[in-house]
């Protein structure tokens, strides 16, 4: 499956008087894993919500796979969204459904697959994320790490071209952080999707990213391969990846 390119140009977004995105530009190559890093409250999740069409920009252009999202609504926007998978920060699993039903839900509602085919796809997904044994449990009955894995399985079960990860490892211990990162990397190799991930996990994300973009004060201040970002001379990037405290 060939991934699509994401192209963001001059993106502005304000909430009241506060400008969160200030003319942001971003390029995500097809089939890559691009990680967006930046300080908390810096607009990473707001950017992600624009990329998946949950927020409309005040100005600018967001192109996903050659389609301009900013002018779309209703069915036209849904047609683009069918190419997405999204892993939300907290998982956003439907708590009234078992883990298995959560994974089956997009297949049941969005495809014409038979019940047997859906069952087979769900079991394969559960096996991919190593959760065959907990399929019948409800999200509140499994651990945080398992919930993230179910959320990843749900996002990938429809084999999307582009997958957005909103801080997929927040709140997990270092072992689980690496486990989730390795899982994402392994699934990326298998399914060849384009991944956009918002993350704080420094330096772990350098192991899985093809590209890293640093978001600061509403703009991407530096973007490049992990090695280039790690060796960056930009003071904001250096301060962030070294975790240096603020001056004053």
């Amino acid at each position: 499956m060939a991934g699509s390119t994401i192209h963001v140009e001059g993106l502005w977004k304000s909430f009241g008087r506060q400008a969160v995105l200030r003319g942001l530009d971003l390029e995500v190559p097809a089939g890559s894993i691009t990680v967006i890093i930046g300080r908390s409250g810096g607009g990473k999740s707001v950017l992600l919500k624009h990329l998946i069409g949950l927020l409309r920009p005040d100005a600018g252009r967001i192109e996903v796979g050659g389609v301009d999202l900013t002018g779309l609504s209703g069915r036209a926007l849904d047609d683009v969204r069918r190419r997405f998978g999204v892993v939300f920060q907290g998982g956003a699993l439907f708590d009234s459904m078992s883990c298995r039903a959560n994974i089956a839900f997009p297949l049941r509602e969005k495809t014409r697959l038979s019940a047997a085919e859906i069952r087979a796809r769900v079991e394969a997904s559960l096996a991919q994320v190593g959760l065959e044994a907990v399929g019948n449990k409800y999200p509140e009955e499994v651990s945080g790490g398992m919930r993230k894995r179910v959320a990843i399985a749900r996002a990938l079960v429809t084999e999307p071209e582009i997958v957005f990860f909103d801080e997929p490892t927040t709140g997990l211990d270092p072992v689980l952080v690496n486990t989730i990162h390795q899982l994402i990397l392994q699934l990326h190799r298998q399914l060849q999707f384009t991944a956009v991930m918002v993350s704080h996990e420094i330096p772990e994300i350098f192991e899985i990213a093809d590209g890293v973009a640093m978001l600061h004060e509403g703009r991407i201040v530096e973007i490049g391969p992990p090695a280039a970002i790690q060796g960056s001379s930009h003071p904001v990037v250096r301060q962030f990846i070294r975790g240096e405290p603020e001056q004053g």
Partner: protein, 264 residues
């Protein structure tokens, strides 16, 4: 593109303007919400399973409270109206007085208030939690309409269950009046039901029916809207739930007066 700063002298005016715009925007969004729900309700795909689940949630699970409040409302009415009518020697009219009060007014209004307290508040809280845990966003980005999955089944369940529960309330209430008036206070059974048959006609029943349907729409509309647009975490859910119950209750009483004035 930061907004230009407003001179200090004009700030109160700006605040007033922002407040007014906020109210107009909220009213517009409230109306548009129902419009979108109606649009989704009349276009396929129809979510019958979700509708059945909502009917169970709103209707079946409210049955006990409807039966209890209906019975005691009828009993209180039976006692109070009997004591009042006996001062004029008109106890014979107890049946129609109880029946008309319940069928035209108390049945639809009290049943709606009870369902608002039990199911409406829970519905707001459920949708609010789905909003703050991004479950509604998850449906949206799956290209599945949250309106179709969460709101339409609730509003349709209100339209279907409110008249049924009102009918149950009416029957149980009339029976409660019978228990007190006939079994405790000694009025004859024939008088209680016979006079009722003479004075209560189809128009009275239809008045209660139309009221209950409109209350079903109002309660589910308000409760789903308040839950759907929750913000500010757990505190926001609590605030929205309280607002949903208060606004639904006030609208039920205001709309009851309006319908009572225009319906025959």
């Amino acid at each position: 593109m930061a907004e230009p700063t407003v001179p200090a002298a004009l700030r109160p005016l700006e605040t007033l303007g922002r407040g007014s715009l906020g109210v107009v925007e909220s009213l517009g969004r409230f109306g548009a919400f129902l419009g979108q729900a109606v649009g989704a309700a009349v276009t396929p795909p129809f979510k019958l399973r979700a509708l059945v689940e909502r009917i169970h949630y709103v209707g079946f699970r409210s049955l006990l409270i409807i039966l209890l409040t209906g019975a005691f409302t009828g009993m209180v009415l039976g006692l109070q109206i009997y004591l009042t009518l006996s001062r004029f020697g008109s106890e014979a009219f107890l049946g129609p007085a109880v029946a008309l009060s319940i069928i035209r007014e108390l049945g639809p209004v009290l049943a709606a208030l009870m369902v608002t307290g039990r199911a409406g508040s829970a519905l707001t809280a459920e949708l609010g939690i789905m909003r703050i845990t991004e479950q509604i966003d998850a449906l949206t980005v799956m290209a599945l309409s949250p309106m179709r999955y969460l709101v339409v089944p609730s509003i349709l369940a209100g339209v279907i269950t409110f008249p049924l529960m009102t009918a149950l309330f009416d029957v149980v209430g009339i029976f409660g009046g019978y228990l007190v008036g006939v079994q405790l206070l000694g009025l004859s059974e024939g008088t209680y039901f016979g006079e009722m048959q003479s004075f209560v006609d189809m128009r009275d029943i239809m008045t209660g029916f139309w009221k209950s349907i409109s209350f079903g729409i109002i309660v589910m509309w308000v409760c789903t809207y308040k839950g759907f647009y929750v913000s500010r975490g757990a505190e926001g859910v609590a605030h929205a739930t309280t607002q949903a119950v208060v606004l639904s209750s006030v609208l039920i009483l205001v709309w009851d007066y309006f319908l009572g004035s225009v319906l025959p």
